[in-house]
């Protein structure tokens, strides 16, 4: 592991912000820290950078324990949530800052700085903006400057704290793809923080789910999505419905110790009452709310007195509230305080194997 945290704890006064946080990152990978607001994501990044010091635990970068190494010697690049561009310096000077500090220390030639700065400005696509001040840039442009500035001193690790939070939705999507390409091109080990799961799934090689100062699960986006390890992970990922009375649905028996179920929209299939291919496995559903989402329609269904969210592909036409449907739930995650278990619809398996 190139970057590693081992049982890191951090308290602010009496508040424990990090609880036994342990995870590692392989060299050259991009990891996304995903979690709700206040879960400790920023605190993890700041501890890695040396801006906060853990109360206990070990932080390793490139095999070296860095707990006692000050921020300025850790070789970590940081893109702040607010970008923190130097407001009294031009774009050029912002990006050159880290290089000139380094050159001063090594006593090497300063002549190379402009060359490297221009290289970076070209890399992030800001040619012609060298002389502007941060206040004269758009949000997306500032983000690029922050990125170039962090990369300039060639850090071993790049940390990004909600790099797209201050940018509007459309530019955000473009920048995501852009960032992923940039990081891959430079090949730098990176950790970025987000509370947007689409962003994490799209950009990260691995996702770490953070909740209340602890790590819930670490894995590839597919693993996280398909095999949530903890109840929190099951609920947090995807747009889930939660049921307490899951055994009232066709094909699910109550299981001792599990009193709740989480159902993802893709586990639910809907049919018109007159065209139900699985009459023995479906329940009656009533459309309570219908929201148009562009490519799909999001339906809130009332099934056996409980709410289930499903996405309606539009090829069969729009549905509206009051419409009656037949609803098939193919699987669900059963959760209690500690565990998650996948439950399949038993009636599908037993009664009508031909259709599966």
């Amino acid at each position: 592991m190139f970057v590693e945290l081992e049982k890191v704890n951090k308290t602010f006064g009496s508040f424990q912000a990090l609880k036994d946080v342990s995870f590692g990152i392989e060299q050259g990978k991009i990891v996304g820290l995903l979690g709700p607001s206040g879960s400790g994501k920023t605190t993890i990044l700041r501890s890695l950078a040396g801006l906060e010091f853990p109360d206990s635990g070990i932080i390793r970068i490139a095999g070296r324990a860095v707990n006692d190494v000050p921020a300025r010697e850790r070789g970590v690049g940081f893109v702040f949530q607010s970008y923190a561009l130097f407001r009294y310096m031009t774009v050029f000077d912002n990006i050159a800052f880290g290089l000139s500090v380094k050159k001063k220390k090594n006593g090497a030639e300063r002549g190379q700085i402009p060359e490297r700065v221009h290289e970076l400005i070209n890399l992030v696509g800001l040619k012609g903006m060298e002389k502007r001040y941060p206040a004269q840039l758009s949000g997306g442009q500032r983000q690029r400057v922050a990125f170039a500035r962090a990369l300039a001193p060639q850090p071993q690790v790049l940390l990004l704290d909600e790099p797209f939070a201050a940018i509007d939705a459309k530019v955000r999507k473009e920048l995501r793809t852009w960032l992923r390409e940039m990081i891959n091109r430079v090949g730098i080990t990176s950790i970025f923080v987000t509370h947007d799961q689409d962003e994490a799934i799209e950009v990260a090689d691995d996702i770490v789910i953070v909740n209340e100062g602890g790590i819930e699960q670490k894995g590839s986006p597919a693993e996280i999505y398909q095999h949530p390890a903890t109840p929190f992970a099951a609920r947090f990922i995807g747009q889930s419905s939660e049921l307490t009375d899951y055994s009232r649905l066709h094909g699910f028996l109550p299981i001792a110790g599990f009193h709740q179920a989480v159902i993802r929209p893709e586990f639910v299939h809907i049919f018109r009452p007159d065209a139900d291919p699985y009459p023995n496995s479906t329940d009656d559903g009533l459309v309570e709310q219908a929201y148009f989402r562009g490519s799909v329609q999001e339906l809130h269904l009332n099934v056996c007195g409980q709410r289930i969210i499903v996405n309606n592909a539009l090829d069969d036409g729009l549905l509206s509230s009051g419409d009656r449907l037949r609803v098939l739930v193919s699987r669900m995650f059963l959760v209690n305080e500690r565990e998650v278990r996948l439950a399949e619809n038993a009636s599908l398996r037993d009664v009508n194997p031909v259709f599966i």
């Binding site: 300025r72 850790r74 702040f80 923190a84 800052f97 500090v101 001193p153």
Partner: protein, 272 residues
């Protein structure tokens, strides 16, 4: 405001302010200059080129420079410590900084007598090193430093709080040392506020009377600052001389006001 009080109210208020300033501030200043020049330029010139007056002016300037340097350095350190670190007693220190604003300068002078004077606990130590504080120049400088020390830090603390630590942290992560960070990141942000605080500090140091009066001992030509010298002239009924020397302070005050205005305007235009 216009919605609440019509044009009449507005104009009345403006005239009132104007009158107040003219009566309370402008007329007295002009009177000082007029009185000083009442007996003509020759007398005026004689009064301000009097060796004691010149020595007092010199001492005032020396004291002001000391106070300015010490308080600028202290003010920057204090503002840095209070805005960039968290520690026990932070609020207490922040409150203590304001003591000179809250306390009468005479008491400040008396405190120095109590500590460094013949009755003070530090007196024997000073004797050992053959140092004189009270009734000597060091005492005057100390008293002036005491009275003026909140000006710089009070200007800087809100500015540095508003600036936040993001940019400094970013610079530190790129390998910059503390001094480099201060001069390249922090200073550009606070420079006009710093200058403004320094100007206020200078103005106050030039005119300080109460605290200095207690510790100086009024030794003519030795421990008399300009305000003390004026007071002596006045109590000896040398009114023309007193006002002539006063006019030096008035002119200095006007120069400082102009500087203050320039700095304030620059600072404001930079914010926008």
């Amino acid at each position: 405001m216009r919605e609440y009080s019509g044009n009449i109210g507005k104009n009345a208020l403006i005239i009132l302010c104007f009158l107040f300033i003219v009566i309370m501030l402008l007329i007295p200043l002009i009177s000082v200059l007029a009185y000083a020049l009442r007996q003509g330029w020759a007398v005026f010139w004689e009064a301000i080129s009097d060796p004691y007056a010149l020595k007092a002016l010199k001492l005032t300037l020396v004291t002001t420079v000391w106070a300015l340097v010490i308080n600028t350095v202290f003010g920057i350190f204090a503002a840095w410590a209070l805005t960039r670190y968290r520690f026990r007693g932070q609020h207490i220190i922040e409150t203590l900084i304001d003591i000179p604003f809250a306390m009468s300068p005479v008491i400040a002078g008396l405190v120095f007598i109590l500590v460094f004077g013949r009755i003070g606990w530090a007196y024997p130590i000073l004797q050992q090193w053959d140092l004189k504080v009270v009734f000597a120049v060091p005492g005057i400088i100390l008293a002036t430093v005491f009275v003026t020390f909140p000006f710089v830090s009070r200007e800087l603390i809100p500015l540095m709080n508003a600036q936040g630590t993001d940019e400094e942290e970013a610079a530190a992560l790129m390998g910059a040392g503390t001094f480099h960070i201060f001069s390249k990141i922090t200073l550009p942000h606070i420079r006009w506020g710093l200058l403004y605080g320094m100007i206020l500090c200078t103005a106050r140091a030039l005119g300080e009377f109460g605290a200095v009066s207690v510790v100086s001992g009024h030794l003519r030509g030795k421990t008399n600052t300009l305000p003390l010298h004026i007071e002596i002239l006045f109590s000896e009924f040398k009114l023309t001389s007193a006002f002539a020397v006063s006019s030096i302070l008035v002119v200095l005050a006007i120069i400082i006001l102009i500087l203050k205005n320039i700095v304030q305007r620059k600072g404001k235009s930079e914010v926008q």
